[in-house]
Symmetry: C2
Subunit: 515 residues, 2 copies
């Protein structure tokens, strides 16, 4: 039963001196909450109310953590908006708890499986896709042209293959190929080709004169299969006597791959073969109390089942880094976390960017006062497991458990880097709403508010807003997400993004200049 | 008659101590040239032969300019390859000739016209396209979905409209919207919406919570028409109760635009309404002696006819900047040129990039030893006119004559910025060959070698390789390019790229970090 007509608020942690107003449309001044507190101001939906008088300079506490300091005295019942909060300093990277030692692991969860496509390299796909990699943007229009024809003329003959996608991008030439940071886009492109959902037999279209040569992007030593069969079509090769020839060459190699992919069948695999990437976008103040904790609950279940769960978004965890280093499984993991934060601090500094640039205006009007509050909500997605590994942007993950893959927070840059990290399932939480989708892996979208899930019923897969209205608990929604992941990974259920074919372009992270 | 079977070489300037071997496949050691010179080494096609003994440390001269210094003594008849040349210092920006005063203009060329679409703001389109702008990548998959339906369901009803394109990009959120340099991608997006080929009545699809808001990207004050009619569809608006609703809203606004665009007809306009962008990509050593000088000749004709001709690619002109400042129409233009070079020097320095990163390996194997030689060939495209204006990346051009629009050399970043600068016709020269194309403006591709034009007969529009074989002169090919531009601009001829629909994605230049 829905209870949104009653005044309703959520206090996350017992020590918090603010709570979130849950009611759609907010609550007017004078409203009396269950606790007896009377609102001094009108408070918008998802925004914070002061549960006590907060003296000037005193900490404002949410999630049990200081999210800012009161610029002036804040009377009880006031709207604690962005303008009232002074931003705390980011935790200094040289004073973090890094020597906590090995944490105890939760009890393993046995018997959960899904049906996936087993690759030669031991990875498992949740889809069976032909991916056509490109070394440089010069070839992308040609590859798009070929892909259109492959989809129309060849794909119908190979019904076990789900899709054909061009891994198009803006890199490869007009860039300083040896500049500091260039290793990031290059390894990203290499590892995108190796994503488990692409079947383990990549093909590459190259121009010929570009800076990023196929041998640098995807050397044949990467996979045994590549040394035994051709995998590069080079448009400038003399063999191609016309544009039509080039397209034919791409289609010919593509059809060889389609034959291989089409012979594959789903097999029952343990849940431990999942590599689930977590992300949020268009967040609001509910994200941190509904969708993200529910996903965090599912993440804990996945980790207990032996899977790999990846969280990311450096700029959104930076201000909560002290809570993450304390969860490092080993001292090295803590050091690696700090290394990635420090790299990003320098990267932003070089561009004269200050961290108040995040959150977005939409985040703020959604009730997130600053990056600290956003960070605390963001890391709720990562559940409570210890962190077993840290990977740089575009690196491929090679361990199980909860891992941190360092990426920007930009939704599509993060998604692209998570795909390179070998993600085969994606869970995306949103409060404001975004029609996000990726071609290479299924994206389950979880809404933080029921109003959004109802309005966008054909875009949101799971509604975690029921946690705010009291209809469901965090464990209930978390369990539902866990089982939904297994269903989608097995092809038994289809995400909204896949239903509509909403697949955003890849967005490479290139920290180096273009030339 | 073809004469490629004879040994053939080209010396560009009387003071040059190297010449270029023209024969396909190069020439073997021992070959005697017309001049009597005997080759000491085998010399690949488009590579340089020493016309005299060049002592160690002496300048190697091409185009009458020092392109490097001999690392060791180079005997007469030797192959002057990259390894023999030490790179000269880039011209210091504080010692350039900047006070040359107003140059004499060439005689005006009267009576040349084309048939274009006149816009309310006085610009003229060579195509009649519906462009759908986006504020942020979050909406791009939705817009692509809508564009597919618009093309299938609406466009056939409006036969005078040539195309519908989504101006999709990776910017708008996950970026520091106020960082130094952020003005570049923002004004680029604004000015892309205002490209003459889009009919002067833009529409914008926004998510709602993104950092780059429609009012910042394209304020209604930009065009009178925008204050009198709605031009933004915002996906997060409460009015949209589903994904289907969003798509309907985009299609509804698109159809209103299609009705307006469809009522337009081509009108006879003076050639002075053309804004022709010049670019080269996949260059070889022939580019600077065939295709680029021929385009330069056409550029001079266009300037004399009153048109705007734009050249770009900072990193490819940087090493010839002293030749450009000397051609500045006013001292201010020279200062502006230096300003743009200095900005780029700092940008590359911040990323620890040295200028030897350009040329590409393909350029080098095509015979271009270093960036100096490439720059000299590159600026040949700009002809001999004085330079009347300089524009920063993404700025809109507001003057006639030969102008420099500062951009990176990356083909698609440059093309995107030239479109933002208001380019309505594009000429692209290539030696190695690239299947380049843009959706927003016709691209005429000119090859530097006949072998490429023959092999890629369905991709190359004009062969300038006939200059090397002696079949045609630079003025002859230049005139042909000039007339081809007028024909394509009028819709009488179609480029190869448009025939195949080869349209690369937009590539924004964002010098700031992503977050």
């Amino acid at each position: 039963m829905r209870t949104t007509s009653q005044p309703r608020s959520i206090q996350v942690h017992a020590s918090d001196n603010v709570a979130i107003v849950v009611n759609e449309g907010g609550l007017p001044a004078g409203t009396r909450l269950d606790s007896g507190l009377v609102l001094r101001d009108g408070i918008p939906e998802a925004h914070k109310v002061a549960l006590t008088m907060i003296p000037a300079g005193a900490p404002v506490i949410r999630y049990g953590v200081t999210i800012g300091y009161a610029r002036t005295e804040i009377p009880i019942g006031s709207w604690v908006h962005e303008g009232l909060l002074a931003l705390p300093e980011a935790p200094a990277l040289d004073e973090l708890p890094t020597q906590e030692g090995v944490r105890t692991q939760s009890a393993p969860l046995e018997g959960f499986t899904f049906e996936g496509y087993v690759n030669d390299d031991g990875t498992v796909g949740t889809k069976n896709i032909l991916g056509i990699s490109t070394t440089v943007q010069c070839v992308s229009a040609t590859v798009e042209y070929a892909v259109k024809r492959i989809k129309a003329e060849l794909l119908p003959k190979y019904p076990n293959v789900h899709d054909v996608i061009a891994i198009a991008h803006l890199y490869g030439c007009g860039v300083a190929i040896d500049a500091p940071g260039s290793e990031i886009p290059i390894r990203t492109l290499r590892n995108l080709s190796l994503n488990p959902n692409l079947g383990g037999a990549p093909m590459v279209v190259s121009l010929g004169c570009e800076k990023l040569q196929p041998a640098q992007m995807l050397p044949s030593s990467t996979l045994p299969i590549l040394s035994s069969q051709p995998y590069v079509v080079r448009l400038q090769d003399d063999a191609h006597r016309s544009f039509g020839d080039m397209v034919q060459a791409i289609m010919h190699m593509a059809e060889q791959r389609l034959v291989q992919l089409n012979a594959r069948r789903r097999q029952v695999r343990p849940a431990s073969d999942l590599v689930v990437g977590l992300q949020c976008g268009g967040s609001d103040a509910f994200s941190g109390v509904t969708a993200n904790p529910a996903v965090g609950y599912a993440a804990d279940l996945l980790v207990r089942a032996g899977a790999t769960v990846m969280f990311s978004e450096v700029t959104e965890v930076r201000d909560a880094i002290h809570l993450l280093t304390a969860r490092a499984a080993t001292p090295q993991v803590a050091k690696d976390l700090i290394r990635e934060m420090a790299w990003y601090d320098r990267y932003l500094e070089r561009g004269s960017v200050d961290r108040s640039a995040n959150p977005t205006p939409g985040n703020k009007s959604g009730g997130l006062a600053n990056i600290v509050e956003k960070a605390l909500g963001s890391i709720a997605k990562a559940g409570t497991s210890s962190i077993s590994g840290v990977f740089g942007p575009g690196e491929r993950i090679n361990c199980k458990g909860l891992v941190f893959a360092a990426t920007p927070a930009s939704d599509f840059v993060c998604g692209t880097l998570q795909l390179a990290a070998s993600m085969n399932m994606h869970v995306f939480t949103t409060g404001r709403g975004t029609p996000y989708g990726l071609a290479m892996a299924p994206v389950i979208k979880v809404s933080s508010r029921t109003a959004l899930a109802e309005r966008w019923s054909d875009l949101i897969d799971i509604d975690a807003g029921t946690i705010a209205t009291g209809e469901a608990s965090i464990p209930q929604v978390g369990e539902a997400i866990f089982h939904y992941i297994l269903d989608v990974a097995s092809g038994r259920k289809k995400t909204c993004a896949d239903y509509w074919g909403l697949h955003n372009e890849f967005a490479l992270f290139n920290p180096a200049p273009i030339t």
